[in-house]
Symmetry: C2
Subunit: 187 residues, 2 copies
Amino acid sequence: MRVSDIAAATCSIARALGAIGDPWTLLILRELFLGQRRFEEFQAQTGMAPYLLSRRLAKLAARDIVARVPYRQRPVRYEYRLTDKGRDLHAVVVALAGWGDRWASGPEGPPLTLIHKACGQETHPVLACSACGKPVEAHDLRARIGPAMQAERRLNRERFRARTRHAARPARSNEPAPSDKTESAPK
Amino acid sequence: MRVSDIAAATCSIARALGAIGDPWTLLILRELFLGQRRFEEFQAQTGMAPYLLSRRLAKLAARDIVARVPYRQRPVRYEYRLTDKGRDLHAVVVALAGWGDRWASGPEGPPLTLIHKACGQETHPVLACSACGKPVEAHDLRARIGPAMQAERRLNRERFRARTRHAARPARSNEPAPSDKTESAPK
C-alpha cells in the first residue's frame, strides 16, 4: 500500500488521513482555525514554499475542506475559508493541540489557551460520550468492528500470510533482527 | 522550514505533528488502539514495508509513545504497547475517526462503532469543555495566543516581508497566477 492508497481503505481514520494526514496540511488548518485566510499569511506562518503551499491548498479545496473566495477584483485575489467539512476538523486540531500541550510544551508552557465563550473559562476540551455526556478516555470505549472492516482485516491477514509463506524465509524474519540496545540488553 | 523542523516550533499542534503527523504513524496508532501489538499484525493491516514499519515503530518508541516489551525469550521477540503518552493520543485518533465517519464513509456506513462501556450506548464522542462540561464546537472557542507564540508569529511575518522585499518581484507574485477554472471563471 502506498500513501496515496490510504484514502481508499475502509477505515475512517485511514480515509481521514488520506485527506489531511500530512503535517503541512495540518499546519495550514491550524492557521485557518486561527482566523488566517491569505496565502501570504499561511506562507509566513508555516514557512512553506509557495509551490508546496499552493498544492496543499488546491488539495484542500478539491476535497471541499476549504473554499477559495475572491476578495478583490482587478486583479482578482483569493482568500481561503474553512467549509463546514473543514470546520468539522476542529476536534482533530484541538485534540492534537491538547496532546502537544500535555506532552510537548516547552518550559514556557502552552503557547495558546482556549476560552470557552459560553462559560468564559479557560478550557482544555476533552472527549465526551455523545449519548450520556460523560467524559470518555481510551479505556472507557469498546470498538465494535463492522462486517466490511472485519472482512477487510481478515483479507489483509490472509494476504500477508500468503505473501510471507511464498517468500524464501519465514514470516517473522521480516521483523528486523535484534540489533539496538533495547533489544540486546536483557532486563 | 523542513518537515523535520516542525517539532521544534512553539505551537503545540506543530509539535504534536512533528511526533505523529504522518499517515503511516497514525495507522500504526489505529492498530495499537484496536489492541494489536505484534509487528506482523501491523504489517498485515497497514500494508507497510517492514523497513518503514520498523523505522516508524522505532521513532514512536524513541518518543515514548510505544514501549517495546519482550513477550518471548529464546529467541527474544518483542511486542509494542501504548505508553500513557501514547494512550493520550486517543482523542486525536477518535476525532479523526469521527470526521472520517461523517465525511468520508462509503455507502456501507462507518466501518466501526464505539460503545461507551459505562452507559452501554453507541457513542460518537464530541469535544466538551473541561470547565463546564458542555459540548464545544469551533465557534464556541476563542484562542488566546500567549506571548511566546505571539512573538514567534510576529517574527515569522517580519522575516517573510524581508524575504519578499529583497526578492526581485513583489510579495504577492509568490501566489501562483490564476490559472485553474475556479480562478478564471468569474461568478
